[in-house]
């Protein structure tokens, strides 16, 4: 370890935040956390609140695991990670129920399902266990935001085309419907989330050739 103190926002640390937004996005590049991307992206609002909850859970559990990294016995590390994540999720859920009751009602089961989000455990295993708390914190924020951004993009298209609304507000005017336009019912169903994610992956790889696998 170098005696020199690294600045808080060194280029290496900034990269931890920005990389997951683009070149190592958890959903489009690592293809993790697809399941929740299907479930909550019918409307933007729940997708947004879930993204925030994931950011909190992920940042805190990354820091906790990183602090414990020298004491966790490798043989039971997965269990330790699960316990930390589950405890965090329950805490977030309880706090939401106590102080943001309306939001918690909207999210209902999805908060609990954060536990099963593989991105969180993937980052704990791959990053937090071998890095100091501050980079781990940034990595958590970065990856969770990368996840959240895709969630919101997918939700935007599904809500717009499926219900004609954005954030619950009608954006496609009545007159368009009078001309015979119909909301696309298929957009509301889970398969379209996969197809939208697929389209995003396609666009991203068309722009960024180094993500394209060679085989």
């Amino acid at each position: 370890m170098s005696a020199e103190k690294e600045p808080l926002f060194s280029s290496k640390n900034i990269k931890l935040l920005t990389e997951p937004m683009n070149d190592s996005n958890p959903i489009t590049v690592q293809v993790l956390g697809i399941c929740s991307a299907l479930a909550v992206t019918v409307k933007i609002k729940p997708a947004f609140v879930l993204a925030i909850a994931v950011v909190i859970v992920m940042a805190v559990s990354n820091v906790v695991i990183s602090l414990l990294r020298k004491t966790v016995p490798p043989r039971i590390r997965i269990i330790v990670q699960l316990v930390v994540i589950a405890a965090m999720v329950i805490l977030v859920d309880q706090v939401l129920k106590a102080f943001l009751f309306d939001v918690s009602k909207q999210l209902s089961v999805f908060v609990g399902l954060i536990i099963t989000n593989c991105i969180i455990m993937g980052r704990l295993e791959a990053f937090a266990l071998s890095n100091k708390p501050w980079p781990a914190f940034l990595d958590g924020i970065g990856n969770a935001s990368g996840y959240g951004v895709i969630l919101i993009i997918v939700a935007f298209f599904r809500e717009l085309l499926g219900s004609g609304t954005v954030w619950g507000f009608q954006v496609i005017p009545e007159s368009v419907y009078n001309f015979g336009y119909e909301n696309n019912g298929l957009m509301i169903l889970p398969p379209m989330a996969l197809i939208v994610v697929g389209a995003i992956i396609w666009i991203q790889r068309a722009k960024n050739k180094k993500l394209v696998e060679s085989n």
Binding site: P74, R75, V83, A87, I90, L91, Q94, V95, A98, F101
Partner: protein, 234 residues
Amino acid sequence: MRSYSNTYIFIFSSIMVIAVAAILSVAAMTLQPFQKKNVEINKKQNILTSINIESTATNAEELYEKYIKEGYAVNSKGELKEGVDAFSIDMKKELAKPLEERSLPIFVSSLDESTQYIIPVYGKGLWGPIWGYVSLESDLSTIYGANFAHKGETPGLGAEIDTKSFQIKFFGKQIFNENGKFVSVSVLKGGTADPNSKYEVDGISGGTITGNGVDAMLKDCLSSYESYFKNIKK
């Protein structure tokens, strides 16, 4: 990779489990009063919504005091039950009992110089429980307002039952037909209800099973009040 003895692993996991359990129970204990309060306020808000009074978490209690005149419970024969607090009745538990033993809560409100009877309803959706309040006008047949909520119906589909645009379809419908027979209001598959019918409403396209749940919930819950309604009308 360092190796750890079994004793270390054992002690580590014990401490971890105890620490996590302690944190969670402290959190649950300290937050419980807030959560209870929220649930209570939420219930009052739901009751108020069913008589078309919009309330926020801050003014719900005040409005509740203002509009809801009384709450009492009856049995399935329509007789008043003494010593039962209508507000704290858990519909889920009541519906699990045989019909004769149920305590059926009724809230009475007064708005627009007339009386509304508010009936709690409870049933099953696609993924979990659904519940709500239906208010009837003083003729005890015309629906004055309705409010539905759910635990975890599919967002954008079944979950739409908690929106105004779905609930508004029930307003003005009748639960008794011209001959005074109980018919309830049927929730049909999206787009198939006859707009002129007083006894049917459109369900949500893609949320048919939740719609069926609402349909069954209304039939089950409202029908158990039938004799009480007849008693009042006499």
